[in-house]
Symmetry: C2
Subunit: 350 residues, 2 copies
C-alpha cells in the first residue's frame, strides 16, 4: 500500500531554519526555558505565531516529556454520573491549559487495556480512574509511571501499591444514615434496598452501610435485594419481590433514580399508593428527578471532577510545592426530600 503523501504541517526544524537558529533553541522557547538570547527568543516566538505552530504531542510524549493531556477512564456513558464528572474534570483541566481525553471500558480487561494505551503509551501526564471496576485493585499500580487519581473508589488495602494514588470519594455512610433516618422518621420500619452492580465500589459500600444504618435502630427490618440494576429490571424485580413476601415493605430505597422510576412504575401497576403504603427513594438526583418529585440523594458530581483534576495536577507538577492540599478527599451528598417519601403531616416542600 503506498503511503499517501501527508500534508505536513510545520515542525520544529522548519521553525529553526526560518528563524536562523536551531531545534534546541526553538524547543527551549516553546517550553519557556532559559538559555536563549532575548532577541532570538522574540524572533522565534514571532515565527511560531505566524505559522500557527503547535508542537506535536507525539514527539514530546515519545521523548517522555509532559504532553498537556489528561486521561480519563470510565466504564459507562449511560448514567448522567459519568458525563457530569467528566465535565467537572474537563473544566478544571482546561483551566490549567491542558486537555482531557476519555476512554470507555466497561469490563476489567478492557479497562486494563485502555489504561495501558493511555499510560504506557505516554499519551497522558496522568489518569483519572472514574468508578473503576473493583477488580482493578488486584492489579498493581506502581509499575506505571504516571500519577493516578481514583474517583468514587478506594483500594481495599491501604498498604497496597495503590496507596500512591489520589482519591475523591463520596461519603456514602453519612448520606445513607440521613436517608435511613428520614425513612424511619416517616414511620417506615420494613426497608428494602434495591442494590446496584456488585463490581462498583459505591454500590458495595452503600449496600453495607444501608444494613448498618438500619441495624442501629431496634424493630427495623432491612433487606437487600439484588438484580435491579436497570430501570427495566427494577420493574420485574419489584413485582417479584412484592408477590413473594408475606409482609410487604413500607419503604424501597433504590441505588439510583432510574431504578426508582422502575420501582414507581411497578407500584403504580400494582395500585400501591406511594408514599402512603410504600415510600420510594432514589439516589443521584438525575435531571428530571425533581420534576417527578422523587426523594433522592444529590451527588456533587461537578465538584468530584474538579477535585480529581486538582489532585492530579498536584501529582503531575510536584514542583508547585506551596501549600500542599490534600490528595484524598471525601465529599458530602445532600438529601433531597420530595413527595415519594413524605408520609407525615408536615409535608413541608420549600
Amino acid at each position: 500500500m503506498n503511503v499517501v503523501p501527508r500534508a505536513r504541517s510545520v515542525n520544529v526544524l522548519e521553525i529553526a531554519k526560518l528563524s536562523g537558529s536551531s531545534k534546541s533553541a526553538v524547543s527551549r522557547v516553546i517550553q519557556n526555558q532559559p538559555g536563549v538570547a532575548p532577541e532570538m527568543r522574540a524572533r522565534i516566538q514571532h515565527i511560531i505565531r505566524a505559522h500557527h505552530f503547535q508542537p506535536s504531542i507525539l514527539g514530546r510524549a515519545l521523548r517522555g516529556a509532559h504532553t498537556g493531556v489528561i486521561g480519563v477512564l470510565a466504564r459507562f456513558m449511560g448514567s448522567g454520573f459519568t458525563a457530569e464528572v467528566i465535565r467537572g474534570i474537563d473544566d478544571e483541566v482546561k483551566r490549567k491549559g491542558s486537555q482531557t481525553m476519555c476512554m470507555l471500558a466497561p469490563g476489567i480487561d478492557e479497562y486494563i487495556r485502555s489504561w495501558r494505551t493511555l499510560v504506557s503509551g505516554r499519551h497522558v501526564d496522568g489518569v483519572v480512574l472514574l468508578a473503576p471496576p473493583t477488580d482493578i485493585f488486584k492489579y498493581p499500580v506502581d509499575e506505571l509511571d504516571k500519577p493516578v487519581v481514583l474517583c468514587a473508589a478506594e483500594p481495599p488495602d491501604k498498604a497496597s501499591t495503590w496507596k500512591a494514588a489520589g482519591s475523591v470519594v463520596l461519603d456514602n455512610q453519612t448520606a445513607m444514615k440521613q436517608m435511613v433516618k428520614h425513612l424511619l422518621d416517616q414511620g417506615c420500619r420494613r426497608l428494602i434496598y434495591l442494590a446496584g452492580q456488585p463490581d462498583i465500589f459505591d454500590c458495595q459500600e452503600r449496600e453495607r452501610v444501608f444494613l448498618e444504618a438500619a441495624a442501629e435502630r431496634k424493630g427495623v427490618r432491612a433487606s437487600v435485594v439484588q438484580g435491579a440494576w436497570t430501570r427495566e429490571l427494577a420493574v420485574s424485580v419489584v413485582h417479584g419481590c412484592l408477590s413473594a413476601r408475606k409482609q410487604k415493605p413500607d419503604a424501597i430505597l433504590c441505588w439510583n433514580d432510574y431504578v426508582a422510576m422502575g420501582c414507581l412504575q411497578a407500584l403504580s401497576e400494582l395500585d400501591i399508593a406511594v408514599p402512603e403504603k410504600i415510600a420510594v427513594a432514589g439516589w443521584d438526583d438525575v435531571p428530571g428527578a425533581d420534576h417527578l418529585d422523587v426523594t433522592t440523594i444529590r451527588l456533587p458530581m461537578l465538584e468530584m471532577g474538579w477535585q480529581a483534576a486538582r489532585i492530579l495536577f498536584q501529582k503531575t507538577n510536584p514542583g508547585n510545592v506551596g501549600l500542599a492540599s490534600p490528595s484524598h478527599v471525601s465529599l458530602q451528598m445532600s438529601l433531597q426530600i420530595r413527595r415519594t417519601t413524605v408520609r407525615r403531616a408536615v409535608k413541608s416542600r420549600a
Copy 2:
C-alpha cells in the same frame, strides 16, 4: 528537574533479541505481514504473548501508521445525546478491535484545537465530529490527512472541502412534519416552538422545518421563540411568553425534553391545564420522558454512533473494497405520542 527512571516496559528490540531475530521481523509479525519464516513467526508470537507485549501506539503513530484509535469530538456532556452516541460509536469501534478516545470542546476555538491535537498529532486513524458547532464549516478540512465523519451536521456547501467527509444525519424534516401533523390533528392551531442554540445544526434545521411544516396548512399560526435553551431558562421564557401575548398558544413544542419539563413546570405554576389548554411536546425521548408521559421524538442515538463508526472504518480501510456501503446516511426518528398532547377522545396509549 531530574527525570524519574521510568519502569520501561518491553519493546520491539527486546522482543527481537529474545527471539533471536530483528526488529523488522517482530514488526512484521505484529502486523500479520508476510516475509517471516513460519518457525520464526511462531517463536516471536510466543515471546510477545509471554511478555504481554503491546506495541506502543506512539511509535506507530509517529511513523504515520495506523494506531487503532478513533477520535471523537463532542461539545457537551450534559445531554444524554452525546453520551449515548458515543456509546454507539464505541460499540462498533470495539467490535473492530480499535479503541475510542473522546475529547470535549464546547466552543469553536477549543473544537479546532482539540481536532488538531487528535489529528495532526496523528494519535488517531480518523475522527467523528459529533454535533460540531456550525462554524466548523468555515474551516477547510482537506489539509487534514485523516478521514472525518460528521454526526448530526452537514456542510452548508456541498462543493466545499468538506464533501470528502462522511455523515450521519437525522431526518428532521420528516419527524417535524409528523409532530406538527399530530399537534394539528389534536386541534391545535397556534403553535410555539421553543428553539435551541443557534450554533447547532439540528437546532437550525428543526426551527426552519417547523415553520415550513406549519405553513403548509391554512389557519395555523406558528412562531419561534428563542432563548429557552435549558430547563431553567424555559421556565422563565414560558412565563414571559404567556404574559406578553394576547392570544395564548394552544401547543408548545420544545427543542428537547428538558426544556419541555421546564415548560410543564411553568404551565403548572400558571395553573394552565396540559394538554387541554396547551399541549406540550419535547424532543429526544430522554430517560424519564416516558415516565413523565411527555410526547416526544425518539432519536436513534445508538444507531447514529454505529453508522458513524462504520463509515469511518470504511474510509480508514479503503482496502476492504467489497460492497461499498453509503458514506452518507439519514436516520429516521419516531414520534412517541403521550399524555401531554392527547386532547382528542381517542386516547389510545398502547
